[in-house]
């Protein structure tokens, strides 16, 4: 209207802003409250994960993966270890597989709880956040029992997992899942048909199927546009093809669908956890291959072979064969891929992480154009951009 007469107001949203949930920055041109142009600036949380990996042994990288998507660190552990195991071409014990499925799905639930909860907070509905966080807290208690940490889990090991399920895990988790159902019912009751919530999210930040695929969307954001793409079905790993679950899809590809798809996914994940818990076999939780897994402590302290084995693994490390591998898992936000090149040494030659957030964040500028500041916040909440993963 008056582009030449009035300069647009420049507004910095972030890097420290309540809605960005991390150090993310948008530089927007405002006409009144309408965003005319947005420029996303990322990198405020860059920790050189990929470069740092090149000077770390294969096992030392696992704790770094905790910091990628810190809302579901268990899943990053699983994704990375799965990639290295594919490079090593080894099979991990059945029990470890099931434990990985269980913790992955619990991590997915926790991630979605945070995403939907904080998205609702950004829209001004504070109460839902607490209903969800009460359940998340209970799951975190189990995570703590499982691996001693709540946020930075560092749970998986190359060849299996660090520790077996804690006693009482099965019954406890079943109770938590019931509470989860209750919390979801409460939040859905507060939001799903809420006129204000629908007005704020429906038709906001809409993206078409084609655009979403072109941008490289994966995960709930892609499924919200109506594409039933889920790596757990498309490239089944860890027996996902044997579990009974549905892939929820949206229709419009707007902020509302993105949140509702996540809510439904929590229910499906809860189903998978129950099935995995009922099918979990007994047995070892980590590979017995002496070149990969640390020997049990009795052997280390009781026999010279065990001690030497332990010593060699810690000083020399695992040495995968020369080669390269791309392995992807369906993380909470979408396809979490690790592209690894090994030169046969104790340290990776190059690791590239494909965070699901990166392509999603790249579409943000286009999605917020000609919408209002309040819409930008609603869109950001639904996309679930986790800056730890985005900036690596």
């Amino acid at each position: 209207m008056s582009e030449n007469l009035v300069e647009p107001m420049q507004l910095n949203i972030g890097p420290a802003h309540p809605a960005t949930h991390g150090a993310l920055r948008f530089h927007v041109d405002l006409d009144g409250e309408t965003i005319k142009k947005s420029r996303t600036e990322i990198g405020y949380l860059h920790r050189a994960f990929e470069k740092h990996s090149e000077i770390s042994t294969w096992s030392q990288i696992i704790p770094y993966t905790d910091r990628l998507n810190y809302c579901s660190s268990l899943m990053n552990n699983v994704g990375y270890c799965k990639a290295v195991e594919e490079l090593l071409q080894i099979q991990i014990p059945e029990r470890a597989i099931f434990i990985r499925v269980i913790v992955s799905e619990l991590a997915r639930i926790m991630d979605h709880l945070i995403c939907v909860g904080t998205a609702a907070v950004d829209l001004g509905a504070l109460t839902n956040f607490w209903y969800f966080f009460n359940v998340r807290e209970q799951i975190y208690d189990f995570t703590e029992k499982l691996c001693g940490a709540r946020l930075t889990t560092n749970y998986t090991r190359i060849g299996g997992v660090m520790r077996d399920l804690s006693p009482g895990f099965q019954d406890g988790i079943k109770k938590v899942l019931k509470d989860l159902d209750k919390a979801i019912a409460q939040v859905v009751g507060l939001l799903e048909r809420n006129r204000i919530f629908m007005d704020r999210t429906q038709g906001v930040g809409t993206i078409s199927k084609e655009d979403a695929i072109a941008y490289g969307f994966t995960g709930p954001c892609l499924r919200a546009t109506g594409v039933p793409h889920d790596l757990r079905r498309a490239q089944p790993y860890y027996h996902y093809d044997e579990f009974d679950f549905e892939i929820p899809v949206g229709t419009m590809g707007d902020a509302y669908d993105r949140l509702m798809v996540r809510v439904e996914e929590m229910r499906q994940s809860s189903k998978i956890v129950e099935q995995a818990l009922s099918r979990i076999p007994d047995g070892p939780i980590i590979s017995s291959d002496a070149r990969i897994a640390l020997p049990p402590k009795e052997k280390v302290y009781g026999s010279i072979e065990g001690l030497m084995n332990h010593f060699m693994l810690l000083t020399d490390g695992i040495k995968p064969p020369k080669g390269q591998v791309y392995s992807a898992t369906e993380a909470a936000n979408g396809e979490l891929g690790f592209y690894i090149i090994s030169d046969g040494g104790a340290r990776p030659y190059r690791i590239h992480c494909r965070p699901p957030c990166f392509p999603i964040a790249s579409a943000f500028d286009k999605m917020v154009e000609n919408s209002m500041i309040a819409d930008a916040v609603a869109i950001l909440g639904g996309l679930n951009i986790v800056v730890g993963e985005l900036d690596r």
């Binding site: 809605a19 409250e33 609702a120 504070l126 956040f129 809420n194 007005d199 209002m372 916040v377």
Partner: protein, 368 residues
């Protein structure tokens, strides 16, 4: 009042040299200050604590419970803390306007309490244009909020101030139209007269006087929520969008003034709805005559309790709403005002006039 004046003049020789009007005026100021100090200030403080506890209940958590029994003195602790905080005025801010703005907000809100009744006798000033004065004087708040948004020299504050100005000015119209419907019914602008025109029982309240009044009540309720910047209309200070809106740059006691205004306003919204629609302090005549045999104090106490309980129910509804609903977007807020509430307001205020004419048509014909 006259009694007190004549008592003072009779017993204090120095006062006899002063004109009686002056004493009257001075007493008014004292009475006003008493209302502020004894009722509104503690109320705003306590309601901040009550709101936090209710919010905690709604959210399935505990809430403040450390200071005093059940945390009842939390508001005092918060107040003292805020007094001791450093008072920051940003270097780039317009420091005169920046300092002035909280006082305007404060004055606008507390001046409104002059016409808010507590019982049939307890009112600072029963102005004959009471409700009109209330609408007018609360508008000063907008000036203060806009001033704070502008003087902060912060883009978020500016956006918050602009949003607030647009919102409050727009919602004066549906609020005014709903109040107009009540004024037509009672035939008076004085709040005490409006209350006296109603009765103690629900069917005597203006809320149920005719089918249009509940609509007017809801319309006034929504409009006053918006004027008071309460969720779902708290967009001027929308935390996730505008950081903290117009009060972003404020700290210490100046910041508290804005929140003081908000909580005092909570009671104001409730009190106005109670007075205009819910029968105010009216008690059944049997109770009134019984209480009068025991003395005026008991009567006023009972009337105050009636009024206060009704207002409190409204306050609780408003608080519950705040912690249940998301917030609307700024354009949706305007659409709600101009597309829905304003036409509804016209229908309500004109509709009853036309209906009244219809019923009285025969009388009119006979006159003509």
């Amino acid at each position: 009042m006259e009694k007190i004046v004549s008592y003072l003049v009779g017993h204090c020789e120095k006062l006899q040299h002063l004109p009686e009007d002056f004493i009257y005026l001075a007493l008014q100021v004292v009475a006003g200050l008493l209302v502020l100090m004894l009722f509104v200030a503690p109320f705003a403080g306590i309601i901040s604590f009550v709101e936090r506890r209710i919010a905690a209940r709604v959210m399935d958590r505990v809430g403040p419970n450390r200071v005093g029994p059940q945390g009842i003195f939390q508001w005092l602790a918060d107040g003292v803390k805020s007094l001791l905080k450093e008072d920051i005025i940003p270097a780039q801010a317009d420091s005169v306007l920046f300092r002035l703005a909280p006082y305007l907000v404060f004055v606008g809100m507390f001046a409104a309490f002059v016409v808010v009744p507590f019982s049939s006798g307890l009112i600072v000033a029963d102005l004959n244009i009471g409700i009109f004065y209330l609408i007018a004087v609360t508008s000063i708040v907008v000036v203060g909020i806009m001033m704070s948004g502008w003087a902060s020299n912060n883009k978020y504050s500016l956006l918050g101030g602009m949003r607030s100005a647009a919102q409050i000015v727009s919602y004066e119209i549906p609020a005014g139209l709903s109040i107009l419907a009540v004024v037509i019914l009672s035939g008076s602008l004085s709040i005490q007269s409006i209350i006296k025109a109603q009765g103690a029982y629900p069917w005597q309240w203006f809320l149920f006087q005719n089918p249009l009044m509940p609509i007017a009540f809801i319309s006034l309720f929504i409009a006053s929520l918006a004027e008071g910047n309460r969720t779902p209309f708290d967009i001027p200070e929308a935390e996730s969008e505008l950081v903290s809106g117009y009060s972003t740059e404020y700290s210490g006691m100046r910041f508290v003034f804005f929140y003081f205004e908000e909580w005092a306003n909570l009671y104001l919204i409730a009190a106005v709805s109670t007075a205009l629609f819910l029968g105010g302090w009216n008690l059944p005549s049997a109770v009134v005559s019984w209480a009068q045999t025991k003395g005026d104090v008991l009567l006023h106490l009972l009337q105050f309790l009636t009024f206060f309980i009704k207002a409190m129910v409204m306050v609780f509804i408003i608080i519950q709403l705040r912690w249940t609903l998301p917030r609307v977007r700024v354009d949706q807020l305007m659409a709600l005002c101009w597309k829905y509430l304003t036409p509804i307001g016209f229908v309500v205020s004109l509709g009853w006039q036309l209906g009244w004419l219809y019923f009285l048509r025969e009388c009119l014909w006979s006159v003509m």
